[in-house]
Amino acid sequence: MDLFTTDFNKEAEKLKNGDKNAAGKIFNHFSPKIFSFFMTRTAQRETAEDLTQEVFLKLLDKIGTFDKNLGGFSSWFWQIAKNTLIDHYREKKSFPISDPDIAAKKSLIANSGNMQKTAIEKSEVEEIIKIVKKFSDEEQEIFSLHFLSDLSYKELSKMLNKSEGNLRVVVHRIIQRIRKSIK
């Protein structure tokens, strides 16, 4: 059974009726991934938190319009997340990770309170960010969704309207570039 397309459709139908368990399952599954997605794109922890919360509230507003016959819940939900990010860029003029402004990176590191901020780790993370910043927008999006939000090729394929083969090639190229850079 395909968990991505089938099970969350069922949970979504239950959520329409105010099912607390279904809401809990959806939140537990999607919240860290969506946060990581916003984190890589906004480079600000507070902003990523606000946007994550906003996406889940939007989900409740729009869940009545979700039709499982038109597509999977996950793709539909990720589309809400992407639209929320676009709205955020429009309103706040915030910068994604690809923005050359160094303030983004500084903010990213300064706001992180979830790990031991050792000098080595910081430098390692900064090194990766530096490499990722050189990627194109599309590659950055695939990088954040695949490596940080743990989306499978199938999920990415549905979200980005690209074939799985194409995505595998892009991911392979990303890994190659990172490996070469951190030798």
Binding site: L15, K16, N17, G18, D19, K20, A23, G24, F27, N28, S31, P32, F35, S36, M39, T40, R45, A48, E49, T52, Q53, F56, L57, L60, D61, K62, I63, G64, T65, S112, G113, N114, M115, E121, E124, V125, E127, I128, I129, F147, L148, I175, I178, R179, I182, K183
Partner: protein, 313 residues
């Protein structure tokens, strides 16, 4: 090969580190989850999407869309069934009969005051036909003793209700004649001669001189005569119709002798008789006036013919 694996491992380690770096705070997730679950289980949010505003003046007053659609569908179906029952004039045994009666009540409620009398007259005729139909059915009844008795009881009950409704309709018609159509005939003295006698002379001159233009004083007098004549005729027609219906009803009830006629019918007949007598007495003057006016204006040809027939009689 070892170098490749080492590089690969290093890359994976860095990515895991980055991923860990981008993880949300546990406190944030806990708070966000509580808020999300609270909102998800709140009924107002759950139903927001499927509600529609019914009344434009009160946009906040909303009902679920499916409920609104169901009610609308039910209304349309009921209206269609009522219209069908009304059109086919179904008999009391028909399952749609009650809907027909509902339709009649709605018609009476929605009709303007001037048309209510006509409706009650129409419905009284219907009740009379229905009474006749039930009586004919009683005579045809077959079957064993028990079923016949049961059916007879049911039919008797229906007859009682129909009689009651027939009386109500007839009484309404008579009261309307008394109150609205012929108030002067039943409650007041006849109009002063100056109003009734003067205008005909003027109109006669008008008849001999077709090019004569009416003066402003002539117009209201003429209109008054016309409306009075029409009201008299209408009252007379209604009374005749009602008396005919009562006669038919009495015939069916085997009340041929007027002494057996119940007090209610006698009262209604008494109310009608002055109207008919007055029209017969004042028939010559009033009808002549009316005829002349009608000849001048060329209006209400049908009524004029009726008047001529009455004159001949």
């Amino acid at each position: 090969m070892i170098k490749y694996l080492r590089e690969n491992l290093k890359t994976r380690k860095r990515l895991r580190l980055l991923k860990k770096y981008f993880e949300p705070r546990k406190e944030f997730l806990k708070e966000a989850k509580i808020l999300f679950l609270h909102k998800a289980t709140a009924k107002d949010i759950k139903l927001t999407r499927s509600r529609v505003s019914v009344f434009p003046l009160f946009p906040s007053l909303k009902i679920p869309a499916y409920a609104f659609a169901s009610v609308m569908l039910l209304l349309v179906m009921s209206a269609g069934t009522i219209a069908l029952a009304e059109k086919q004039n179904v008999s009391p045994e028909n399952p749609l009969y009650n809907l027909k009666r509902v339709g009649e009540k709605m018609q009476v409620q929605l009709a303007p005051e001037t048309q209510k009398t006509g409706l009650h007259q129409k419905f009284a005729k219907r009740r009379l036909e229905e009474i006749r139909h039930i009586k004919s059915e009683i005579q045809k009844t077959d079957g064993d003793e028990y079923s016949r008795r049961k059916l007879a009881e049911k039919q008797q009950k229906t007859l009682e209700e129909l009689n009651k409704d027939f009386r109500k309709d007839v009484t309404f018609v008579i009261e309307t004649i008394e109150v609205q159509i012929m108030p002067e005939e039943t409650t007041q003295a006849p109009a002063p001669p100056s109003v009734t006698e003067e205008p005909p002379k003027k109109i006669e001159t008008h008849e001999s001189q077709p090019e004569h233009i009416q003066t402003p004083e002539e117009i209201p007098i003429k209109n008054e005569i016309i409306s009075k004549s029409i009201a008299e005729k209408r009252a007379e027609n209604l009374c005749q119709s009602v008396l005919e219906m009562i006669g038919e009803h009495e015939e069916m009830e085997n009340n041929f002798d007027s002494r057996n006629s119940d007090s209610n019918w006698r009262e209604i007949k008494n109310k009608c008789s002055p109207v008919l007598e007055k029209n017969n007495k004042s028939g010559d003057n009033g009808q002549k006036k009316f005829k002349k006016i009608e000849n001048n204006d060329g209006k209400n040809k049908s009524e004029r013919n009726d008047q001529n027939d009455n004159d001949e009689d």
